[in-house]
């Protein structure tokens, strides 16, 4: 971990912060690698391994122009680079500081700033190099003569190099210290060796290049030409004469003959000029492929397109549906797309791309762009070019949020404001929204806005020079029409000015000029001149800078919109939660997904770096740059909106204490500040936090309960949750504030087969889950033995602890009583043994009748609490009338409820004893694993409601334990003070005693002991009741060791009665702690013996000790408290 964070720091220092290519953060500091890749249009697998100053000499025969020096040919000074599989040279790539050596250079600005291969030079795949010779030269220490495989695809027979083919041979003279040169040559040698295997791929790729056919001698042109697009079948758009297509073709043929074709092409000034005048139809596709670099993508994996189609053939997707809708609507005026042939190609390319890049899938406008490409290139070529477009040339344009499109609109607006302030002011004043006009220009690369012939001319330049071209052309359009636009005062007028401009692009720009040359200049030519001359200042880096500036606001807008929409569409369940809760859930959900992806990426990068550094000595710090680094941010188009189990754990741990692991495998920070609402921004500022597998947050627990919750929420069984799933799941727990609902839910959670029965295993799992959920203390509204009261009565702060602890200890008792009761009231799986009443299972929330019918029901019948009960204290014991009033009223009337409960419990033990005696006999059998049994939902409800604390748990504590809006951060302060955890519980008894004796509330070892034991119980998946018992007893012993011996009192019953009758005074507190302690032990025993009929006499008296102090409050306190105490005594007495 240390290594990792220092790595990140170092990387940040090394990267030049002023350069930026794309949007994501590594782009803010674009690595050398990404600049290198952009400049030479290389795939992301390529990294600049070695570079050296060099002079390129192209022999005279190859030369087409320039300062002719017949002896020595043409020379270009520049930088030579070598990557894993490419040798690249560029005159504008004076990218390294003069003094920089290969190993220390850290700044790679590249004159084109990644804009593209605008300089002279070449991008040679190493597999296209046939031979490298070292020449002896006086001027330079090193000179290399490179012979390429130029024309390898041309003649099948002539491997020996037949006479009519001239080898392409260039020389490179390296400049630099000897060591550097030698190292470079070594690198080249290594690369060449590795590249030998790729010659086959190379042949395959170039066999689809039209240039190979073009340069074939006439007599060998027997074979059919490679596919150069639908245009070969349906004619190319525009009048070839007017376009001077033949002349262009001749010029290109000459250039290619002299300078190599496709993979072996050398860029000289003529190359760029030829592109500016417009590409000839049949070469257009290939040149687009080459200048955009998509040809190198094809070289990497020549069969990817066909393979993808095969692999996914017959499969369906949303993208395919969307594609189908648009197939007939893509350049419908072009004849090729009125035919099945054209439609079929379009369908296949779009579909294949949607499979390889499911994050993008299909976006309207892609159909138009691909349709345009298909006029000039084959399907496979179009497929790779589409990749190059989406990944590099116009990143984010077609993503699901289209952030790239929106961002570039903002950039365009600021460029207009900067370059044409008067027009901009006019637009603002007349409330014309520029992007409304310009967005389609960018999104469909002008294909939809201008007549096709002109749009293709723009594309010719765009593929060489990159996205800045879109901006330059857009600005030029506005500049040229500036006068008229200033007269337009609304969107309509504005748009119509531009519309009429576009249809007249082929007209003369200066129709009235005297000068025939000027008259001949078309409006389109004028546009190009204005775009590239007047706006030559618009560079890749100025655009990058503006993108960075506007990125956050654009993403925020998108995210707000997405959030609003998502929340609104969450379905009916979401109505159960408040808007704030939904908003917070949305943030948490996507926040977790985002953070996790960030962490994954960094960890992956680190791994890659380690792997790399073991192989090579080049410290290429950020070489593993990945465009996807900000994946997961909603605004960028959530790459996933699905939450897997681990993410779910992390999600829960951000809002529920119980979901935090007790024994983190990785060291936990002392404080775990939760990511605030703006996670996205804050994250990057603490990269170290992201290197822990759980980020800055606590390590989440991994407990069966979490897994059950996950499975339950995962309604589509897809092993992943959508936001919708999460919202629905939480709505059922938290939304209704209905205790019956929550109890039912908990039951369903453990009813694996949904048959309304939970078996022995399930019962144990439920109790285990209860322990798990409560181990950090209970939240919500609990019995009022809490601070205010005790404070006022005791006047001693330490009593807070006491009452708090007792709740938790009581809960422990409740859970063990729960287990026992479950077994006691469980139905055997033998039908003849089943009591009639529990045979049927009812799932409704209000099933009091069922309850009444059951003889067990009385035990909880008295459990309900409201004021009526209080008044009717003399009502028949066990009165079942109030059995199932699932009202939250108990929340605000706890003391009343308690009183009535106590009254009831104290009055009906006789009944109870009688019934439960019978039951406990059965319970004995119940513990026998060979005796299958189960409980039904009504039984479960009964058992829960029989225990006040359990009831409160389901009513309030469990739902309240999900801190959706405030998270754990804000509650952590309160949770540590007012809520007790098992750690404090463990030392509870000891401390209570200690406090009573005036000792310091220290942390006796016993605390840790009990806590540890409980943790174990919870985590190791206790399966058998005896196991619980055994461990609890251990815990008890631990406690006893810590307790002050003098406080022990074995006469439980009397003692408890005393407690209750005589509340108040410090002594009471001590007793309480003591009683609590005993209750744990006794419940253990109780469980242990299981069959001990007398002990289980009273079944409903759990969670008593805390009641004493409450009892003191009510008028009937003394009595009821006493009763309660008695119950405890009876119940737990061994």
């Amino acid at each position: 971990m240390l290594n990792l964070s220092s790595f990140v720091q170092k990387a940040q220092q090394l990267l030049d912060p002023t350069q930026g290519l794309n949007l994501s953060d590594p782009d803010r500091n674009p690595s050398k690698a990404s600049l290198f890749q952009s400049q030479f249009r290389l795939p992301s697998s390529q990294h600049p391994l070695y570079e050296i100053t060099a002079e390129l000499t192209i022999p005279p025969a190859n030369a087409t122009q320039g300062d002719k020096d017949h002896d020595r040919g043409f020379r270009y000074a520049g930088k030579l680079h070598i990557s894993e599989s490419y040798l690249c040279f560029s005159t504008t790539g004076s990218s390294f500081l003069q003094s920089a050596s290969t190993t220390t250079s850290s700044i790679f600005t590249g004159q084109t700033h990644g804009g593209g291969p605008s300089g002279n030079g070449f991008t040679l795949p190493l597999c296209a190099i046939r031979r490298v010779e070292r020449l002896h030269s006086q001027n330079f220490q090193f000179a290399l003569a490179i012979t390429t495989w130029n024309g390898i695809g041309q003649d099948d027979k002539a491997k020996d190099g037949s006479k009519d083919r001239k080898e392409q041979r260039i020389t490179l003279q390296l400049a630099g210290p000897r060591v550097t040169c030698e190292r470079f040559c070594d690198g080249l040698k290594k690369g060449l060796r590795a590249a030998v295997g790729n010659v086959g791929k190379l042949k395959k790729v170039i066999s689809e290049c039209y240039s190979e056919y073009l340069l074939r001698p006439e007599d060998k042109k027997n074979a059919a030409p490679p596919d150069a697009g639908l245009g070969m079948m349906f004619r190319y758009p525009g009048d070839p004469k007017k376009l001077r297509d033949r002349a262009k073709m001749r010029l290109w043929a000459e250039y290619l003959r002299d300078n190599g074709r496709n993979m072996t092409l050398l860029r000289q000034p003529t190359f760029h000029k030829l592109i500016r005048v417009g590409l000839p139809n049949r070469l257009r596709g290939e040149m687009w492929e080459l200048t955009s670099g998509s040809m190198y993508l094809r070289l990497e994996n020549p069969t990817l397109y066909a393979d993808t189609l095969t692999k996914f053939s017959g499969q369906e997707s949303l993208a395919i549906d969307e594609i189908e809708k648009d197939l007939n609507r893509s350049l419908p005026e072009y004849p090729g797309f009125q035919s099945e042939e054209g439609i079929g190609r379009l369908r296949r390319v779009l579909t294949a791309y949607s499979w390889v890049n499911p994050d993008v899938g299909y976006c309207q406008a892609m159909n138009i762009v691909v349709a345009a490409l298909l006029i000039y290139m084959s399907e496979a070529q179009a497929f790779f070019l589409l990749s190059a477009l989406c990944d590099r040339l116009v990143p984010g344009y077609y993503s699901t949020t289209m952030y790239g499109t929106l961002l570039d609109q903002k950039v365009f607006e600021s460029l207009v404001e900067r370059t044409m302030p008067i027009l901009w002011e006019h637009l603002v004043r007349s409330d014309v929204q520029l992007s409304v006009v310009s967005l389609p220009w960018f999104l469909s690369l002008y294909i939809n806005s201008m007549p096709l012939v002109f749009a293709f001319r723009v594309l010719d330049v765009f593929f060489v020079e990159g996205p800045k071209v879109l901006f330059q052309v857009g600005l030029a359009i506005l500049r040229i029409n500036g006068e008229e636009l200033l007269d337009a005062t609304d969107d309509g007028a504005f748009i119509s000015v531009l519309k009429s401009y576009f249809v007249r692009l082929d007209e003369s720009a200066h129709p009235k000029s005297e000068n025939p040359k000027l008259r001949a200049v078309t409006r389109f030519q004028e546009l190009m001149v204005v775009a590239f001359k007047e706006f030559s200042g618009i560079t890749h880096s100025s655009i990058t800078e503006l993108r960075l500036k506007n990125k956050d606001s654009v993403l925020n807008n998108i995210e707000n919109f997405a959030k609003r929409t998502a929340i609104r569409n969450l379905g009916p369940d979401s109505k159960l939660l408040s808007t704030e809760e939904l908003g917070a859930l949305y943030d948490r959900f996507y926040g977790v997904l985002y953070e996790r992806q960030q962490r994954d990426l960094i960890i992956k990068q680190e791994r890659a770096r380690r792997a790399k550094s073991s192989r090579s000595r080049i410290p290429d710090m950020a070489s593993s740059h990945d465009q996807a680094v900000e994946k997961g941010r909603v605004g960028l188009g959530p790459s996933t909106s699905l939450m897997d189990y681990d993410a779910f754990r992390e999600f829960l741990a951000s809002m529920s204490k119980w979901a935090i692991s007790d024994s983190p495998a990785t060291p936990r920070r002392e404080t775990f500040p939760e990511a605030d609402r703006g996670f996205y921004g804050s994250l990057n500022k603490r990269p170290d936090a992201m290197l822990s597998p759980w980020g800055a947050g606590p390590e989440p627990a991994d407990h069966e309960f979490l897994r059950r919750l996950f499975v339950k929420w995962d309604v589509s069984s897809s092993a992943a949750l959508t936001l919708q799933n999460v919202v629905s799941g939480l709505a059922r727990i938290k939304g209704k504030r209905d205790i019956m609902g929550t109890i039912n839910y908990f039951f369903e959670l453990h009813d694996d087969d949904g048959d309304g029965k939970v078996d022995r295993e399930g019962i144990l799992r439920m109790s285990e889950a209860l322990l798990f959920l409560s181990r950090r203390g209970l939240e919500g509204t609990l019995s009022p033995t809490n601070s205010t009261l005790t404070l006022s009565t005791m006047g001693d702060g330490s009593q807070n602890d006491v009452s708090g602890q007792t709740i938790n200890e009581r809960f422990l008792g409740s859970v063990s009583a729960f287990i026992r009761r479950c077994f006691e009231y469980a139905d055997p799986d033998h039908p003849n043994n089943q009591p009639a009443a529990t045979q049927k299972t009812t799932t409704g929330a209000d099933t009091s009748d069922d309850q009444l019918a059951s003889p067990d029901a009385f035990a909880i019948g008295d459990d309900d609490d409201d004021e009526d009960d209080l008044l009717a204290m003399d009502s028949p014991p066990g009165s079942p009338k109030a059995a199932k009033k699932a009202e939250p009223s108990s929340q605000h009337a706890p003391s009343i409820g308690r009183t009535s409960l106590s009254t009831a419990t104290s009055t009906d033990p006789k009944d109870r004893r009688r019934v439960s005696k019978a039951h406990s006999e059965r319970a004995n059998i119940a513990l026998d694993p060979s005796n299958p049994l189960h409980i039904t939902l009504p039984t479960f409800r009964m058992v829960v409601l029989a225990d006040e604390l359990l009831e409160q748990f389901f009513e309030s504590s469990f739902p309240a334990s999900f801190h959706i809006t405030e998270g754990l951060n804000s509650t952590s302060a309160t949770s540590s003070s007012s809520l007790t955890t098992f750690s404090s519980l463990g030392l509870g008894a000891g401390r209570a005693v200690g406090a009573a004796l005036g000792g310091a509330p220290g942390a006796p070892a016993g605390g840790r002991g009990l806590r540890g034991v409980l943790d174990n119980i919870v985590t190791d998946g206790m399966r058998v009741a005896q196991e619980v018992v055994r461990r609890m007893e251990e815990a008890q012993k631990e406690l006893e060791r810590n307790a002050v011996p003098g406080q022990r009192n074995d006469e439980d019953e009397e003692e408890d009665e005393d407690d209750a009758v005589a509340p108040g005074a410090g002594k009471n507190a001590a007793y309480l702690g003591d009683a609590e302690r005993r209750s744990v032990r006794n419940s253990d025993r109780d469980l242990l013996s299981g069959a001990d009929a007398e002990a289980s006499d009273v079944t409903a008296g759990a969670s008593v000790p805390g009641r004493a102090s409450v009892g003191s409050e009510g008028s009937s306190g003394g009595i009821s408290g006493g009763g309660a105490g008695k119950v405890v005594g009876v119940e737990f007495e061994g």
């Binding site: 969307e322 419908p332 976006c363 309207q364 159909n367 699901t400 409304v436 997405a562 609003r564 188009g637």
Partner: protein
């Protein structure tokens, strides 16, 4: 009302936005309304398209500035840019595609919360010609079980929803032109006079003077007089 008979009608512009799932026929409706034309293979709208068309009502002329938006889901985040300041919205679904009505409901909700208050929204089920109760004959009626009935959204269902939300409701066919003009006329009639103050058109100044009379007219948006109104 009578005094305006001879004088040129005051004219005001209304910004109207079309929203709805992809390929439900938004652009086709606009094309029908603006050019009285229909194209079998209309290109998908990229971003948005802008068109204008006048609609003559008895007392005034409404110049619609129509923003036709792209329907694909991912373009949704661009929508706020287009419905900003819109006074009217046409939310279109394809009555042969139930999902498109779901999407339409989302749009209605979005507009009700985010667009200008008082925006007039019309819910439009398009492609009525594909149903058996089609094209201008019966208008609305029992979804007949006849052959070739591609209807998947019943008139009832959409109508009830529209009533609940207080939307105008129409079933149309851009292909045959059935009910298309009526939609726009009804919207023109439903625009409150007060919201026309900001009209940009040259005749906008006079628009505010007849507030009272217009109010009366408002109550009967489907007033037969209004029907013949649109000049297109």
């Amino acid at each position: 009302m009578a005094d305006s008979a001879g004088a040129p009608r005051p004219s005001s512009s209304v910004k109207l936005v079309l929203l709805g799932e992809a390929a439900v026929g938004k652009s086709s409706l606009v094309l029908r309304f603006v050019n009285n034309d229909f194209q079998e293979n209309k290109e998908p709208t990229i971003g948005a398209a802008f068109l204008t068309q006048k609609c003559n009502l008895p007392q005034r002329t409404i110049k619609f500035e129509i923003w036709d938006t792209a329907g694909q889901e991912r373009f949704a985040s661009l929508a706020p840019m287009y419905y900003r300041n819109a006074q009217a919205a046409l939310v279109v679904y394809d009555l042969t595609k139930p999902t498109s009505l779901v999407k339409a409901k989302h749009w209605v909700a979005e507009l009700q919360r985010q667009a200008s208050p008082g925006i007039v929204i019309a819910l439009v089920g398009n492609k009525l010609d594909l149903t058996s109760d089609n094209a201008g004959t019966t208008g609305e009626g029992e979804p007949g079980g006849g052959d070739g009935d591609a209807r998947k959204v019943s008139t009832e269902e959409a109508k009830i929803y529209a009533e609940e939300e207080g939307l105008l409701f129409f079933e149309t066919s851009a292909k045959t032109g059935y009910n298309v003009t009526e939609v726009f006329t009804a919207i023109a009639n439903a625009i409150p006079e007060t919201s026309l103050k900001s009209a940009r058109g040259p005749g906008a100044a006079g628009a505010t003077s007849r507030t009272e009379e217009q109010r009366v007219n408002l109550n009967g948006p489907r007033d037969p007089n209004a029907k013949e109104g649109c000049a297109c």
